[in-house]
């Protein structure tokens, strides 16, 4: 298994600003993902964070809006840029380990944009 922490756990931000969310894993992992969960909805994959290279984004998500870094095998950041109230959501980091297909999720970052 993997233990994942996210910072911040929650934040309230003003429209037009940016927020960077950190994801730290307690062991090296192969895959790291970022998801969004809007209120009352299920999870939607934003992108796969690739170590040492550009992230792979899903349809509807772009690098300018959601820049992602993954400098090593245990850490990644997601930035929500130029925020609007529609970005209010829970952002979750998940990882897949070397051995299993299951994913482990962080506790999430609850973002509110005013």
């Amino acid at each position: 298994s993997a233990v994942i922490s996210q910072k911040p756990s929650r934040d309230i931000c003003q429209r037009g600003t940016s927020l960077t969310i950190q994801c730290q894993v307690d062991s090296q992992v192969t895959m790291m993902f970022w998801y969004r969960q809007q209120p009352g909805q299920s999870l939607t994959l934003i992108a796969t964070a690739n170590q040492g290279s550009e992230a792979t984004y899903e349809s509807g998500f772009v690098i300018d809006k959601f820049p992602i870094s993954r400098p090593n095998l245990t850490f990644s950041t997601l930035t929500v840029s130029n925020m609007s109230p529609e970005d209010s959501s829970i952002y979750l980091c998940s990882v897949e380990t070397w051995l299993a297909n299951e994913q482990f999720f962080g506790p999430g970052t609850r973002l509110t944009v005013l």
Partner: protein, 111 residues
């Protein structure tokens, strides 16, 4: 494109009964399906994975089935307890091990 569908209505059952949740997919059979539990304000927690060539998998009070003919997976919790109350998510894998999640079904177990 592949869709994962779960009953969006909450399932209310009495403690001690068996809860059965349904997950349907629309097109091709995924290599495997996964079930997660999510409590309010928390990230999903992995419960079970069942592969395409497996018909059934069990873990303690949990049982998952995979019927490729019906394009369906059933998730059972036997002897349900109030602590089992949560939202249960079904997910299937895409290329690159990315997951597509269903909308989730909220389970309420009443004492």
């Amino acid at each position: 494109s592949q869709k994962i569908e779960q009953n969006s209505e909450a399932l209310n059952i009495q403690e001690g009964k068996t809860a059965t949740l349904t997950c349907n997919y629309t097109n091709y059979s995924p290599a495997y399906l996964q079930w997660y539990r999510q409590d309010p304000g928390r990230g999903p927690v992995f419960l079970l994975l069942i592969r395409e060539n497996e018909k059934e998998k069990r873990k303690e009070r949990l049982k998952v089935t995979f019927d490729t003919t019906l394009k369906q997976s059933l998730f059972h919790i036997t002897a349900s307890q109030p602590a089992d109350s949560a939202t249960y998510l079904c997910a299937h894998n895409n290329a690159g091990n990315m997951l597509t999640f269903g909308g989730g079904t909220r389970l309420m177990v009443k004492p």
